[in-house]
Symmetry: C2
Subunit: 159 residues, 2 copies
């Protein structure tokens, strides 16, 4: 099997979208994905791309994805955020996750950021172990907060 990690092209967005759906199912939120293939194509490959995407290919099939973009830390300045790191279920354990993360860290280093961040489910022990082995700091005392679309509407109705 020949594995390749490369920058994704617009044409890859169908396969990337499939992997996004697969991850949402794994995370027990199958209906949460509102982004379409067309959205990914426009958002990633327009005049001002909203993300950078890398894919893992095995024998010319896309079996993994890492999607990143820049954030702004008031402590560290511009930082890189890894939004999704996905490896197709039947390919897990094959080293593709590491290979994708390597690519992301190299990319972060190249653009000169002082931090790469991401989020992890606290019950996903295999992922947490993987990240900690890589030297990342899983901040168990920091939680993520979301105000979703309905939340925004309700909020505005109550002020």
């Amino acid at each position: 099997m020949k594995n390749t990690i490369r920058l994704a092209t617009k044409k890859d967005m169908k396969s990337v979208h499939d992997l996004i759906i697969e991850l949402a199912v794994f995370e027990k939120e199958p209906d949460a994905v509102e982004v379409t293939i067309n959205n990914l194509e426009e958002d990633g490959y327009g005049k001002q791309p909203k993300f950078t995407c890398f894919v893992a290919e095995t024998d010319s099939e896309i079996v993994g994805v890492a999607l990143v973009y820049k954030r702004y830390s008031t402590w560290k300045g511009e930082v890189l955020h890894l939004e999704d790191l996905i490896v197709k279920e039947n390919m897990r354990g094959s080293g593709l996750g590491s290979a994708l993360l390597n690519k992301v860290v190299k990319h972060g280093n190249k653009i000169g950021v002082k931090r790469i961040s991401w989020e992890v489910l606290d019950w996903n022990e295999p992922a947490i172990n993987f990240y900690e082995q890589k030297g990342a700091d899983v901040k168990r005392d920091w939680d993520v907060v979301h105000l979703n679309e309905n939340g925004i509407k309700n909020y505005l109705n109550n002020i």
Copy 2:
């Protein structure tokens, strides 16, 4: 006392920086702030601003700040992230935190995002209660992961 919430200008970055330092002290990481006033001025007020900043003023003194930027969700598309919501210690409980958050949610609604996200320390119960009262979902099972500057170097030395 006259309270105002308004968009910050470049000239406000000194006061904003003071508040960022104050928050870092509260979060027990006083030495973590590497961003300078000059960085904030360049990053927020250049050709491609890296963030949008709102300030709370009381009698013409800046006593609060909310700093936001856009992120990209592979589920929801472009979303808004609230990086910092800071109210000067002696002004907490005065409603300025709510007023700043109101401004952020209005801004998010105006630019049409489907989610506003932020992060909270799980021991900061007053903050968590405040956010939950506002309808936000504190995702206690989602942790934040950081690979910092040294972590990036070590990582690259080991692959």
